[in-house]
């Protein structure tokens, strides 16, 4: 597993095999999937999530199968299951031939973590594992030598709906659009000159330490990665990007008055990620050992968050300006969002790195509003108090984006006049 993970030097983007990849936690994953379903409705939302899973799992599976010399269908299906669990997505057992097949899933990241997070308070009526369905469909295509974008998969039982396990039915003939690939060659074309920011002497060693520490991490006996108080996945960046940008495009066509709401929710996915994953890392014993105890000052939190973002494969987030209590300017030579957008859709009409925008605002909030020395529990109630308890004390703007053709992406977070920072 660890030999498949590579970082793009100087840009802090990550590949898993041939595929652009990032780490994200279950809080983010569940929030983003729910956002897509809320925007498009469950049927269209889960369809998009399935298509994105299938599209981006395919090059990963075929690339790794080729690299590892797996040639028979059985070898390739076994390899797919190993990759899936190694990435922290749970366990899949796929039985398939050209006529279709079935899949049994246990501890699937989406369904299992949904049931852990919401199962006692919400009754779910639809399955949660569209990504797993897409992955299983792609695995059967690659194993059986079928055309890509041809195998369908439907989740028929899901632990999120209180079933004892997850099951899927595979059925051929589910054609999807063949979209331009976004793999390593395409990403390479989109990246420009990299640069450093302030406090690199602090940020870069932390980044390296986090990468060294996470390199051997893989799924446990359940096929899950449980670390820093969250379930972590090594995930395909194309999945996140396709579902986010296609959802925006669909809403622009069907309900343009709602685009702003969707964009706000995509930004909020950045709050969710930073609060849970970045916060969990900052509070962990591993952080205390590698970096030291948290001082409660804002600057070390901002520095630490830049390092965490880089280690997770989000891009070289740099501090261009930081005035505690007033202003944070983050610049990046590119991000996992912008390289995807430029590659697939061409130049953006306006800056649209929603995750980057939301994450930077959340970093400002964590740096100033969290009493780190009290070792807080990062609960949903605390999240609600920090991010939903009235107007936020910060506003975020993105004046520049490499998705628009600018030489860098820039996000500016400023304190709202009169707000408590």
């Amino acid at each position: 597993m660890s030999s498949l993970r590579r970082y793009l030097p100087e840009h802090d983007l990550m590949y898993f095999g041939p595929s652009p990849a990032v780490y994200h936690c279950h809080h983010f994953n569940l929030f983003l999937d729910q956002t897509i379903d809320d925007a498009l409705g469950f049927e269209a939302g889960s369809r998009l999530r399935f298509l994105a899973g299938r599209e981006f799992a395919s090059p990963l599976l075929s690339g790794v199968a080729e690299q590892s010399g797996a040639t028979t269908p059985a070898e390739r299906l076994e390899l797919a299951s190993k990759l899936f669990s190694g990435m922290g997505h749970g366990r899949l057992q796929i039985t398939a031939d050209a006529k279709g097949g079935d899949v049994k899933g246990s501890y699937l990241h989406y369904g299992y973590s949904w049931s852990q997070k919401y199962g006692q308070i919400v009754k779910r009526k639809q399955p949660a594992d569209a990504f797993g369905a897409g992955f299983a469909a792609a695995a059967s295509e690659v194993a059986l030598g079928l055309p890509s974008e041809s195998m369908g998969a439907q989740e028929t039982e899901c632990v999120a709906m209180k079933a004892p396990g997850c099951t899927f039915a595979l059925k051929p003939g589910d054609r999807g659009l063949r979209l331009p690939p976004v793999g390593e060659p395409e990403v390479q074309k989109q990246i420009g000159t990299s640069f450093n920011g302030l406090y690199e002497e602090v940020i870069q060693p932390i980044t390296k330490g986090l990468r060294d520490f996470t390199a051997p991490v893989a799924g446990d006996e359940r096929g899950l990665v449980q670390a820093f108080g969250v379930f972590v996945t090594l995930h395909l960046a194309g999945y996140y990007n396709r579902i986010s940008y296609e959802a925006v495009q669909q809403v622009e066509k069907k309900a343009p008055q709602s685009v702003g709401v969707l964009e706000d929710l995509l930004r909020e996915s950045g709050h969710v990620c930073v609060f849970n994953t970045f916060g969990g890392i900052l509070l962990s014993p591993e952080w205390e050992g590698m970096v030291g105890p948290l001082t409660g000052e804002p600057l070390p939190i901002v520095e630490g968050c830049m390092a965490i973002a880089r280690a997770l494969g989000f891009g070289r987030w740099t501090i261009a300006e930081f005035e505690p209590g007033k202003r944070l300017v983050v610049r990046a030579p590119c991000s996992y969002e912008s390289v995807f957008y430029r590659s697939r859709y061409g130049k953006a009409a306006r800056p649209n790195e929603y995750f980057l925008q939301g994450a930077c605002l959340a970093i400002a909030q964590l740096a100033h509003r969290v009493d780190w020395k009290s070792k807080p529990m990062l609960t949903q109630d605390y999240y609600n108090a920090l991010f939903r308890g009235g107007p936020l004390p910060w506003k975020v703007e993105q004046p520049k984006s490499t998705a628009c053709g600018h030489p860098m992406s820039e996000v500016v977070v400023t304190r709202v006049e009169g707000a408590r920072a």
Partner: protein
């Protein structure tokens, strides 16, 4: 079904150690351990636990970790003395606090020699 974790957290007191549920641990797996008589050198916990059947897991020098054949782990930060007990996944959630306290007591006993 285990009871919901109260907002103030969960603290359990033992004879020689105190444990406190750590952040984000919705499955009650991770517990901060405070020994009533901590060793002068936190790293000494590792050989003491190895002598009691634990195995050292070497990842990075700044974070020391030992694990028990049953799956429990103890992480030690030598620079600060922080100890975190990570209960095995196989232990039912409602029993994890007690399991963590037993490991904490074992750490204390190991350190005391």
């Amino acid at each position: 079904m285990p009871e919901a974790i109260p907002p103030e957290g969960v603290v359990l007191e033992g004879e020689r150690a105190r444990i406190e549920l750590e952040n984000g641990c919705f499955e009650r797996l991770n517990w901060r351990c405070t020994l009533h008589a901590p060793p002068a050198e936190p790293a000494a916990i590792v050989p003491a636990m190895v002598s009691r059947g634990y195995t050292e897991l070497k990842r990075v020098p700044q974070v020391l970790e030992v694990f028990h054949p049953d799956g429990h782990r103890v992480a030690v930060i030598p620079s600060t003395g922080r100890i975190q007990i990570r209960v095995a996944l196989s232990v039912p959630e409602e029993e994890r606090g007690q399991a963590a306290l037993e490991v904490a007591e074992e750490v204390a006993a190991a350190v005391a020699g």
